[in-house]
């Protein structure tokens, strides 16, 4: 099984690629609709501005094959912006529509705390999680974001708090998403990626 890393032109694809290499997993980056349509597992590693990601998906005609693949049951993992893209909209670019696979929208974290939410934070499990299996409940993960799904608790299996509660890990059938960066989260992150690979196999 090979994981297709969706390379939309910005972001942390190289870091995810390196993380996959360290796990001995095969991955390939692509930005072609054909490759996404044929992928066995998909990973969307986003970082930066929400608008850049959504526009790139549309300009490169990746939205339709991506949605089709996910609907067919292809395992999907969204990282950071890649998770945010799953919701209906985001405050970061209200005029654009997200992938609409999860209900709710992405909001700015409150300015009562320092933003971006930058650094290592812990999770609060809300139900049992396949992605977090074998990872200690007090493990830390690396976050770097100012926006998050603060009102979307339905699919969240773990939440985090920075000024407000937000979805940190979501799992819905074959759809997985994490607000933090597992590729930068040391051993805990490596284990999470390994869990995704196992679930996708």
């Amino acid at each position: 099984m090979k994981v297709m890393l969706i390379d939309y032109g910005a972001g942390n694809v190289t870091s995810v690629e390196r993380a996959m290499e360290r796990l001995g997993a095969a991955s390939r980056r692509s930005n072609s609709p054909e490759c996404i349509a044929k992928a066995e597992a998909l990973l969307l590693p986003g970082v930066g501005h929400y608008a850049a990601l959504i526009r790139a998906l549309d300009e490169r005609a990746l939205r339709a094959p991506l949605l089709e693949a996910i609907k067919r049951g292809v395992p999907f993992l969204g990282v950071c912006l890649g998770l945010q893209a799953l919701y209906e909209t985001s405050d970061e670019a209200c005029e654009l529509s997200g992938l609409n696979l999860l209900p709710g929208s992405v909001r700015s974290l409150p300015s009562t705390v320092k933003l971006p939410h930058m650094g290592w934070n812990q999770l609060k499990l809300t139900r049992s999680s396949r992605l977090l299996e074998g990872i200690s409940a007090d493990a830390y993960f690396y976050f770097a974001h100012s926006f998050a799904a603060t009102n979307a608790n339905g699919e969240a299996v773990a939440i985090c708090n920075h000024g407000a509660d937000f979805a940190a890990v979501i799992e819905k059938q074959n759809i997985f998403g994490v607000q933090f960066h597992p590729e930068k989260s040391a051993d805990a992150g490596a284990r999470l990626l390994q869990n995704f690979l196992r679930l996708a196999a």
Binding site: G48, P116, W120, A144, H145, E183, A186
Partner: protein, 254 residues
């Protein structure tokens, strides 16, 4: 559940090798950046910063190669900088494997650089390095490796930088750098309370007490040090255990 205070080792390089000096001058060799990166990753460092302090044009390819090899060793975030003058310079370090880019002198000369980087990579990837030196009742911004005054108030500049799109401030006390007398607490408090982004305190660290103080009294979100880690004066693992025992939230490595 709250954000952990970060411990960040810094590799000052001449492009290829780690060097060290006191008050930004008198450099000497301090080791192989790739080997040090691997060690810090294993010891529980929360991030790593790698700087090209020579920042000469012709050594650039060497520095990018260093970033690539360092990034290969890391499962934690990597910040790179030194000599970033343009969006293209930043793109090349990000492509080489840096998660964040730090700018200093070039941003003072042309503040729009901060906005250009922030638009391209997001604020979370733009670290404004501010080298500050006490001057009467305020702190003056220093540029060119701490040598020249920019005739600018450090707090005002930090606030401006955040306004322009910096997502983090790497604050170095030029007065304390290399002295091992401890971080500059009044400086760090002033900047950390004055901006709404995380502040990394740098310059002067030696003892675990220095780190405890800068987190508890200095309001720092992260603390950076170089030679005390390279020379094994302080182990990151033991430092974190010390801080955890004093109820300062840190990420303890397993």
């Amino acid at each position: 559940m709250s954000l952990a205070h970060r411990i960040i080792p810094c590799l000052d390089t001449d492009g290829a090798r780690v060097v060290k000096g006191v008050n930004f001058v008198g450099l000497r060799d301090a080791g192989d950046p790739v080997a040090l990166a691997a060690r810090y990753n294993a010891e529980g460092a929360d991030e790593l910063v790698v700087l090209d302090i020579a920042a000469s044009r012709d050594r650039r390819p060497t520095f990018l190669e260093t970033i690539r090899h360092v990034a290969d060793e890391l499962a934690i975030p990597l910040t790179a900088g030194g000599g970033i003058r343009s969006l293209d310079d930043a793109r090349s370090v990000v492509r080489a494997g840096a998660d964040k880019v730090t700018v200093n002198t070039a941003a003072v000369a042309r503040p729009e650089l901060i906005s250009e980087l922030s638009r391209e990579f997001g604020a979370q990837a733009v670290v404004l390095a501010v080298d500050a030196k006490r001057l009467d009742d305020h702190w003056d911004v220093m540029v060119r490796g701490g040598r020249d005054s920019a005739n600018r108030d450090a707090l005002v500049w930090a606030q401006q930088g955040v306004e322009l799109g910096a997502g983090e401030i790497l604050l170095t006390s030029v007065d304390r750098d290399g002295t091992q007398l401890g971080f500059d607490t009044p400086l760090t408090v002033a900047i950390s309370r004055g901006v709404n982004v995380p502040v990394i305190a740098s310059g002067g660290a030696k003892l675990p007490e220095h780190f405890a103080e800068i987190f508890s009294e200095g309001a720092a979100d992260a603390a950076l040090a170089a030679s005390i880690f390279h020379d094994n004066v302080q182990s990151i693992r033991e430092l974190k255990q010390y801080l955890a025992a004093r109820k300062i939230e840190v990420r303890l490595p397993c």
